[in-house]
């Protein structure tokens, strides 16, 4: 009797354990699946782009000659790959356009982001703070293509008709600011629109970090005679340096991969290295969108595979950038946890 009840309770326990374990392993499996997505993206892009990687070699990154070749010619074999006669794929101008537009965006966004985060964390009356912060977060939610629309309709005519001619006339002696001011499409316009898209990210992250700093930091600084701004500038801001670095890198990642807004305002130049800030450019992300239609005309498929290589390079760059930011922010979180 007692042994029978023991057996049944054992069985019951076993059933419970197995059911619990199966639930746990089901969630573990899903988690692995989600983690695997990134691996799959890299794997399939690499697989698809592999013939292009073999054909293009290192010149892909260092040469400036994206050329689909003669679309009506008979395909020829180069490096064991079938391509159109004259086809070459070098994306130096894309790398230049991507890095320069991102650099301009950061030059504008970081100072503005830091200053507005300071204002939001200390300068706004406390009852208004959640609302204004919410407003900033809303801006991060506005889709890229809407920024692109605004850039196309408002920024391009404004910069092209009023600002650029003025800058050329009065500041043209500064390198990269002189020369023909162009139509408004181009490097600076792309960087400017990008900067508006990444400022909310920097501001929101930094504001949260400033607000979360221990009270003692500010109290200590003010007890030593600092004004509120001095406490903010000399004590609180240095304390969130690492968060600022992390947020800036995250913002860099976003700017590097931003597609639609850049596509609509950058002028989509081909094989052209920018000579001044008004020059039309392309970025890797926008180039993929603007070129896939014509790449599909290539009967050998090498153009589409080379675009996959562009996507692969962009993906790897963004992974490095984001991993860097996460490691930085992770250590920051670690420090905070240890401090309490």
């Amino acid at each position: 009797m007692s042994s029978a009840s023991l057996v049944s309770s054992d069985r019951l326990r076993w059933r419970r354990i197995s059911r619990a374990a199966s639930f746990r392993s089901l969630t573990a499996l899903s988690a692995c699946l989600v983690g695997l997505v990134l691996v799959l993206i890299i794997l399939f892009l690499a697989l698809y782009a592999w013939p292009a990687v073999q054909l293009n070699g290192a010149g892909f990154l260092t040469q400036n000659n994206w050329n689909l070749g003669n679309l009506y010619g008979n395909p020829v074999t180069v490096h064991g790959q079938t391509i159109l006669p004259g086809a070459q794929y070098g994306i130096l101008f894309l790398i230049a356009g991507t890095l320069l537009s991102t650099a301009i965006a950061l030059l504008i966004a970081v100072p503005f982001g830091v200053a507005s985060a300071m204002f939001l964390s200390e300068g706004v009356p406390p009852p208004m703070r959640p609302w204004i912060s919410f407003f900033v977060e809303l801006l991060a939610a506005i889709p890229s293509v809407v920024y692109g629309l605004w850039g196309y309709v408002v920024v391009i005519p404004f910069l092209g008709h009023y600002v650029f001619p003025f800058v050329v006339r009065w500041l043209g002696f500064i390198p990269f600011l002189g020369g023909p001011s162009g139509s408004g499409y181009g490097l600076f316009t792309a960087g400017f629109v990008l900067s508006l898209m990444i400022v909310p990210l920097i501001t929101a992250t930094l504001r949260d970090a400033l607000v979360e700093q221990p009270r003692e930091l500010r109290e200590g600084a003010m007890a030593l005679g600092a004004t509120r701004f001095e406490a903010l500038w000399t004590v609180l801001l240095p304390a969130v340096r690492r968060v600022l670095t992390g947020a800036t890198i995250l913002a860099t990642g976003r700017a590097l991969g931003e597609t639609m807004a850049v596509l609509m305002v950058s002028g989509n130049a081909l094989n052209y290295l920018p000579g001044n800030i008004y020059t039309p450019i392309s970025t890797m992300a926008s180039f993929i969108v603007s070129q896939l239609d014509s790449a599909l005309q290539d009967p050998t498929g090498m153009a589409v595979r080379s675009l996959a290589e562009v996507a692969l390079v962009l993906c790897l760059i963004s992974i490095v950038v984001n991993a860097l930011a996460r490691v930085l922010l992770y250590y920051q979180g670690h420090q905070v946890q240890r401090a309490f």
Binding site: G35, F119, L120, L263
Partner: protein, 296 residues
Amino acid sequence: MASGILELREVSAYAIGRRRRFFDRLGWTVSALAFLLLGGAMVWILAIILLSGFGSLTPEVLTHVTEGTGGGLLNAIEGTLVLALGGVLLAVPPGLACGIYLAEFDYGRLAPAIRFLIDVLVGVPSIVIGYFGYVTMVAMLGWEFSAAAGCVALAIISLPYISRTTEMALRGVPRGLREAAYALGANDRQVVMGISVPAALSSILTGVLLALAISVGETAPLLYTAGWSSYLWNGHLIKEPIGYLTYVIWAFITEPFESAHRLAYAAALFVTLFVLVISVLSRLLLDRSASRFRRG
């Protein structure tokens, strides 16, 4: 002599004071100005979208499909709903399960590794995910431009957001609730599904809403997975392109026709309003769930 020292001190203190006061005022002015410029630009964007958008609204926009560069947006509105809802629905089960694993069973080395992969996945440009979708689904699987390919691309974009917000939401549930449930003999599944998830439901919903807002606003991942169609969706999952609002914004604003511009503005209005409404809604949800455990 004593008064001389005092005077000297006062003078130097006064000089420092003036410099410091100047620095103080300058700092506040600069930061306030920066914020005002930023806020001004943002209000400008919203004003352009709202004014031009409402100015372009006609009954036809909601009742007709796109014809050339004119007509209405019925097909695009329908397509956006199909794609965004489909993508988010695809992403919810694995995303939820992943978030549960990361929050509830966070031991060993698997969870940090997956968390890292997810955080990096958030940063992968959406066009890369779109091209991945093109390579795998459109080209390799032969689905062509289709609703299914678009939904999967949006699901990939939604996954990390849903996973991470679910994890954060579950971490906000007090430990004591779980311990009490375990002490009463509940197993993992019962604790998670019966206690943790219901307690964190509104925060989890916030993540799902966020993913929905992002999906509605995405363009790049859809251009080469969903394609574009000016007809209503016929219910086919593959081999049938489908329209969506963000395509109209991008493609129609550069057309030289007034009718095309009106459609682009109207589409931008719908997308922006939708995103803003969802953001406000999810904020309200979050506030409610935050107040829930405040006394605990």
